[in-house]
């Protein structure tokens, strides 16, 4: 109990600190006075304050939202498929969304955020429906590795189509950065369209979390307690679609955060999804904000894509888990 409370308060404090640091540090280090001025008495004529207000602030807010969304969607998928290695990236959901976006880019050249989101949602839902069809017919959770392999196949398929689209329509340059995943181009306009969706998804995830805990005890237990496992799964898939689809539309296909964060969080708060989901949310946000700051500081003024940083942290983590035999 106390361990759990400690975890929540420590992560919360760290998150707030990281959020402020991410406003100050970047290719150019700002002064704290500029940060506070930009937040509380914004002067549109001051260049230093403009940088913070128009570039770093939306970026920071986006990082918090997206980090939380990826982590929560990972926790949800892991819960409903009883698959410890599920992640929206590994299952091909992110690359499905990527394909949707590539198609939108090909058709309209420079799409508005709303159109982009619609495309990315449609793509993501194709993957989700496929994964749901395959895994609901074979009994759920029986073979996680099959689902991951399906995800790998889906990913390379969608990547192939996206590649041919970008070859045929000459999108190479525009798409590459987006595929890699980065927060560099976040604007207020994008945020305004997307943040309600992510908040809605997070709220939904928190509401459904007690049901997921029951589901993780096994379908039989859930049924005997009067729950309908498949209904819970469908609802959760919808929430995953909402979270992953909108995050991908915002920052591109970023994997591993949804895999890693719930694992780390379970170590501190236990296996009850009522705690795992919110804890994944704030820890995921912290993780993403830190990764974002690191991505700016590795080789300034060049940006190393945030997605790459996250993958490079995530892979050794996953490999160690495999080596220990805990997966």
């Amino acid at each position: 109990m106390t361990k759990r409370n400690y975890f929540f308060s420590v992560v919360f404090i760290l998150l707030i600190t990281a959020m402020f640091l991410s406003l100050r540090y970047g290719a150019v280090t700002s002064k704290w006075t500029d940060v506070s001025q930009a937040l509380f008495h914004f002067d549109p004529a001051n260049q230093g304050e403009q940088l913070i207000r128009y570039l770093r602030l939306p970026r920071m807010i986006g990082a918090v939202l997206v980090g939380a969304a990826f982590a929560i969607s990972g926790a949800l998928i892991q819960g409903i498929t009883s698959n410890p290695i599920a992640d929206s990236g590994l299952l091909g959901i992110n690359s499905g969304a990527g394909l949707g976006l590539a198609i939108v880019f090909a058709i309209s050249g420079n799409p508005s955020p709303t159109v982009g989101i619609v495309g990315s949602f449609l793509g993501a839902s194709v993957s989700i429906v496929l994964i749901y069809l395959v895994s609901s017919k074979v009994s759920f959770g029986l073979s996680p590795i099959r689902i991951v392999l399906l995800g790998a196949a889906l990913s390379s398929f969608f990547a192939a189509i996206s590649q041919s689209i970008s070859l045929l329509f000459d999108l190479n340059q525009d798409m590459t950065f987006w595929f890699v995943g980065g927060t560099a181009n976040l604007s207020w306009a994008q945020l305004q369209t997307i943040y309600p969706l992510i908040l809605l998804g997070i709220l939904g995830a928190c509401l459904i979390s007690p049901q997921i805990t029951l589901l993780s005890l096994g379908d039989d237990t859930a049924i005997s307690l009067g729950k309908k496992p498949n209904r819970i799964r469908r609802l959760s898939m919808l929430i995953v679609l909402l979270l992953a689809g909108s995050s991908v539309a915002l920052v591109g296909a970023i994997s591993f955060i949804g895999l890693m964060v719930p694992h780390i969080v379970r170590f501190f708060v236990g296996h009850d999804y009522r705690y795992v989901i919110p804890a994944s949310g704030i820890f995921g946000a912290l993780f993403f904000v830190v990764a974002d700051v690191v991505s700016r500081l590795v080789a300034p003024p060049l940006e190393t894509p945030t997605g790459v940083i996250i993958t490079l942290i995530g892979v050794p983590f996953l490999l160690l888990q495999i080596r220990k035999g805990s997966l």
Partner: protein
């Protein structure tokens, strides 16, 4: 009956594909021209096109397709998982990264004939990593191997992405094309680098075909029937990795052939034995040959990659199979 039709149509396809591959291109030839070329009575430029450009390319695509298919067959048998693609061992990703590093930071001038060797080295290093993290003391556990593969693949791709940001534009384009699976090794030198592996390894594998069939029955049964489990697994694994690595290093990063060729062969022959192995090899060759032809027809400038076509054909087939199986 089905088997006989299968063999017959495969040979027909191979011949048609061969003729098509020699005639289709930026300078189209007709059958008459081709006949003249083989009689030695055609113009020198036509002789040059056929013997120095198209013929090696034809051989490379057939042999590389065969190598990938055999590798996939072996790998699926060892892991007892018909969804396993040799690419998941990190073969494609590892080769891609070393090619990028070499071209970006060490190469001077023309890309030389030993580029395939470098690519091959990368494949072996990546596979070694996968093996290290996935192995257990007494035998090879398929699922952990696959998992480790997924992780290593993701990590190497992230490193490759970092690399692509740093290298020059030319190397970047070459590596992108390589990763998409453009058949680039099209000289006789490449044919001679590739062919011996298949000529030597295929008979060796066929000689030990019995123990492969026994492995199919399950690891415990195989041990019970007197197979030295770990040694046999390792032998086939090494063969699979060598074949795939050589094929990928010369033909470019191509996935899905190792996945679907064995599937089709099994459906045609109805069982798994040496005949199935040879048939999957043929199917692999035909698949890659036709993908290359299609890619050349779609974009004659040579920018469409055969690997993309393979994915576009292969993935839907694979997903349909999976859905059918789940029913």
């Amino acid at each position: 009956m089905r088997k006989r039709i299968g063999w017959l149509s495969l040979f027909l396809l191979l011949i048609t594909g061969g003729i098509l591959s020699l005639t289709v291109g930026t300078i189209p030839l007709n059958l008459n021209d081709l006949l003249h070329v083989f009689q030695g009575t055609a113009t020198t430029s036509q002789q040059l096109i056929v013997f120095d450009f198209r013929f090696p390319r034809l051989l490379v695509s057939i042999v590389a397709g065969m190598g990938l298919a055999i590798s996939g067959y072996l790998f699926q048998t060892i892991t007892h998982n018909d969804l396993a693609d040799p690419g998941i061992l990190g073969i494609n990703a590892g080769a891609g990264l070393t090619v990028l590093i070499y071209l970006g930071f060490f190469a001077t001038g023309e890309s030389s004939w030993y580029l395939p060797l470098i690519a091959c080295g990368g494949s072996f290093i990546a596979t070694g990593l996968v093996y290290y993290f996935g192995r257990q003391s007494e035998r090879i556990t398929p699922n952990r191997l696959l998992l480790a593969g997924v992780a290593v693949n993701a990590g190497i791709s992230a490193l490759t992405l970092i690399g692509t940001i740093r290298v020059s534009k030319d190397s970047y384009q070459f590596v992108t094309a390589w990763l998409a699976g453009t058949i680039w090794g099209t000289t006789w030198q490449h044919v001679f680098l590739l062919l011996p592996w298949v000529i030597v390894l295929l008979p060796l594998i066929l000689l030990r075909g019995r123990s492969l069939e026994v492995l199919e029955l399950g690891d415990e049964v195989a041990v019970g029937l007197g197979v030295k489990l770990k040694r046999t697994q390792l032998f086939f694994l090494v063969c699979a990795v060598c074949l795939a690595a050589v094929s990928v290093s010369i033909a470019g990063s191509i996935s899905f052939i190792g996945l679907i060729a064995p599937h089709i062969a099994r459906q045609l022959t109805g069982r798994k034995n040496n005949q199935t192995l040879v048939m999957s090899a043929l199917i692999g060759g035909v698949l890659l040959l036709f993908s290359d032809i299609l890619a050349r027809i779609i974009l004659p400038s040579g920018e469409m990659a055969a690997g993309i076509i393979v994915s576009l054909i292969g993935a839907p087939y694979f997903i349909l199979q999976l859905l059918k199986k789940s029913n």
